[in-house]
Amino acid sequence: MVGALLRLLIRYRRTVVLAGTLVCAFLLMTLQVRHESSVVSVTRQVLLFAVSPFIRLTSGILHGTGSVWSDYVDLRDLRQENLRLRGEVGLLKRRIQQLEDQALETQRLQRLLGFRETWPAEFLSARVVGKDATNWFRTILLDRGSPDGVRRNMPVVTADGLVGRVLEVTPTISRVQLLTDPVSSVGGLVQRTRVTGIVSGNLGAGARVRYLPLLADVVPGDEVVTSGMGGVFPKGIPVGRITAVERKSGALFAEAVLSPAADLGRLEEVMILKGTEPHQGFETGSQR
């Protein structure tokens, strides 16, 4: 009996392998989407952890090489300037450039600091080391992990506004789901009229505010902030600006197209909001 079964398996091995693989993949998806299985979560973390040293190392090397290269380019420019302007002018130009870089950096840090002072919570700065491996989903990889105190669902922001939430954490790297991800949803509040809706990503294109009351007073240009409902994001973080409102006949709700406040395509440094459990000082967010 067993021998016959084995012979049958060997004979139809091609079909068996294909069917087994596809069923396995489908089961993995089902377990994750329908049941939030810990097996799938652990598998993801193990795979992410396995490749994270390479990503961090490569990103670090690129970052360092970029600095060396820009220094080299500056130096070459400086030499040309020296030849043309007998040295001194070139040196001054380089100095000015350095000061401009420092001024820009100071400006950026001041904005971050300003944001930090607005929110009485513990912040953790992080560098973006990679992006989503597909063109479908919108996630980024940060160089901070569980030893830094990063936990799942922690909000991630820039000085301009909300970026997303921490989706997965490994000891060396974390993955953040951007608010433009097709399976992301954030409770939103139109600042002018206090109308609430759900900000969610749109597969392959930007974000939308869904489930707005059909007759709600929402117009292009309205600012949207987090509503604080759902318990993940504290209230009052800028999410974006409404650029268009759609009211389809027969629909139960209106929808709006949202332009995110933070430039999600050019993220380099972000801040992770730690200690964002309810009643930790975020009630002040509604006064903004």
């Binding site: 693989t21 993949a25 989407v33």
Partner: protein, 162 residues
Amino acid sequence: MTPAWFGVGLLACVLGQAIFLLPISVLGIRPDLFLLLVLYVSQRVTPEAATLLGFLVGLTQDALSGAPLGLRAFTDGLLGFLAACLSRDLYTETPLAQFGLVFAGSAGAGILSLGLFLFFFGAVSPVGPLIRTILPEAAYTAAAGVVLFSLPRIRAALARLV
């Protein structure tokens, strides 16, 4: 292809997709290196091995993205199987034909992924993702595939010259 070279290829895909290809993304679209790896490997192994390797490649891609684990593993496993079964009939070194085949593979994998996404996450209009993501990604991947697949020939031609 030895397991070591496959591992190197997979690591190159991970780093390329997550870091190196970002500067050359057009409107947020990058070529899908994982898919190219599956197509490349599938021409050199049996359909059973191609299915399993496609599954592994897809699983790695899923782990590095917000996709549910198994989404790309499903499509890449199936693509690996089909590519390995048809490799003898469809093998070509003509750039235009290569472009067409990779485009078809990438678009097929994209449409299948969209179908699975709709199955698990509910109603989304398929037209937008098809125009904004699937077709541009297929075209970009096909163009990158033509370049990458011709590298061994270019290297051989250069070696002959030297």
